[in-house]
């Protein structure tokens, strides 16, 4: 079995990992780096529970090979510290079981960074990338809008 050693830039730190070329970024983050905040859901790019931020854009880490991430800047949920969106999720009761939450937060955070004046169609377009089975998305929408309003 051929393995590759590479340096991943995760949450501002350089981390050396040994991976199979066939390992996804999600697997490397969770299994090799112990960053279990990003979740395996569908493993098919549909649910968004694995969402991280790569070079400033949201990325489904189950759709990326770990070796593809070498040379890129990766941010996981563990790398977001007391951001407005995290506080807003708490204040607006925007999660129940919490499984989809890290993925949603990464996507919401990235949306707000890129579009601090996001309108409803833009919010809908971005957040359609994530699925929640517990809530009806209303609280998540409120959380995002509360942060946008404050900007």
């Amino acid at each position: 079995m051929k393995t590759y050693m590479g340096t991943l830039n995760v949450n501002g730190e350089s981390r050396l990992v040994t991976v199979r070329s066939a390992d996804t970024l999600l697997y490397a983050l969770r299994g090799k780096l112990g960053l279990t905040g990003s979740k395996p859901g569908c493993l098919n790019g549909d649910c968004g529970a694995c969402t991280v931020i790569v070079d400033g854009w949201p990325m489904k880490s189950c759709l990326m090979l770990a070796v593809e991430a070498v040379g890129k800047k990766v941010t996981t949920i563990e790398g977001l510290l007391e951001t407005p969106i995290q506080q807003a999720f708490i204040e607006n009761f925007a999660f129940q079981c919490g499984y989809c939450t890290p993925g949603f937060i990464m996507n919401c955070h990235s949306l707000i960074e890129h579009h601090p004046d996001a309108d409803d169609p833009t919010i809908k377009e971005w957040l359609e990338s994530n699925i929640c089975r517990c809530t009806s998305y209303i609280e998540i929408e409120q959380a995002v809008k509360s942060v946008l309003k404050k900007k």
Binding site: Y27, N44, P58, M59
Partner: protein, 279 residues
């Protein structure tokens, strides 16, 4: 997490990529060109795709070019659909590509990957079929520039070891009035029942369809029927329905009957939209 191992290469030049493929192919490694890679990763995970060597072409400068050059727009094959949307150099392409998968996934799905995929829909090819774009390919027999309508018959006619580098589209098509609608069975993300893309050029409608058949297409017969100005809208649409290619998809995403129903109504919407446009 793919259940098989493969070697991973990231060549920096076109020639390196072509030579690597030849070399790995001779070794029996069934090499694959890798752009966004979403097809290999999702199908490989369930054993519907296999390779022992991946050639990642994303770093090659010609493949990620996005350029307005003279009277044409050149788009590289490894550009993500999101990058293409953001630049918005070709509005019909922006609209059509922006309906593929979902927003986050479009940051990984690439133009070339969507066009050369095995999946039925490949909606990103439609605007280029309508705009008579030219594709730049490279392979063991060197570089080729070919009009896309000569080489795309349901799929891009790539030779073994050949890959798509860029697509060039003339400005007059980029600026033409367009119509692009994607009708799904439910929700606002996901596969199409029917995606229809159309341009109006020299008073003539050009139309491309995805989701009707297991391949995207542009049809001269359908265009002839829809452009029959003397006839009523009903007659024109009936004429178009009569010359549809086969087979018509009939599956859990939608029955053939339902897809035809949706297509008929989209044809009417198209005629109404373009009748308002004076070109």
């Amino acid at each position: 997490m793919l259940p098989f191992d493969f070697e991973y290469y990231r060549p920096e030049t076109l020639n390196e990529a072509v030579e690597l493929f030849q070399f790995l192919d001779q070794q029996g490694k069934q090499p694959m060109f890798f752009s966004g890679g979403t097809e290999l990763i999702t199908l490989g995970r369930i054993n519907l795709a296999y390779t022992e060597a991946v050639i990642d072409i994303k770093d090659i400068s010609e493949c990620k070019m996005m350029q307005v050059s003279g009277d044409q727009v050149i788009l590289g094959s490894t550009l993500s659909l999101t990058k293409i949307e953001e630049a918005n150099l070709f509005p019909l392409l922006t609209k059509t590509a922006s309906e593929v998968a979902d927003h986050t996934a479009r940051g990984k799905i690439t133009l070339g990957g969507n066009i050369c995929a095995r999946i039925f829909y490949r909606e990103a090819v439609l605007p280029f079929l309508l705009a008579d774009s030219k594709v730049l390919l490279i392979g063991p027999n060197g570089k080729k520039i070919v009009p896309i309508n000569e080489i795309f018959q349901g799929q891009l006619g790539l030779e073994k070891g050949e890959f798509l580098v860029q697509i060039a589209t003339e400005n007059r098509f980029i600026r033409a009035p367009f119509f692009s609608v994607k009708r799904r069975q439910q929700w606002d993300t996901g596969y199409p029942l029917i995606t229809i893309a159309a341009l109006k050029v020299n008073q003539q409608i050009r139309v491309g369809i995805s989701g009707l058949c297991p391949f995207p297409f542009r049809s001269k017969e359908i265009e002839a029927a829809l452009n029959n100005i003397g006839q009523s809208a009903e007659a024109r649409v009936a004429g178009a329905i009569a010359v549809l290619p086969q087979p018509i998809l009939d599956d859990v995403e939608g029955s053939a009957e339902y897809r035809l129903f949706v297509l008929r109504n989209l044809f009417f919407d198209l005629l109404v939209a373009f009748d308002r446009v004076q070109v």
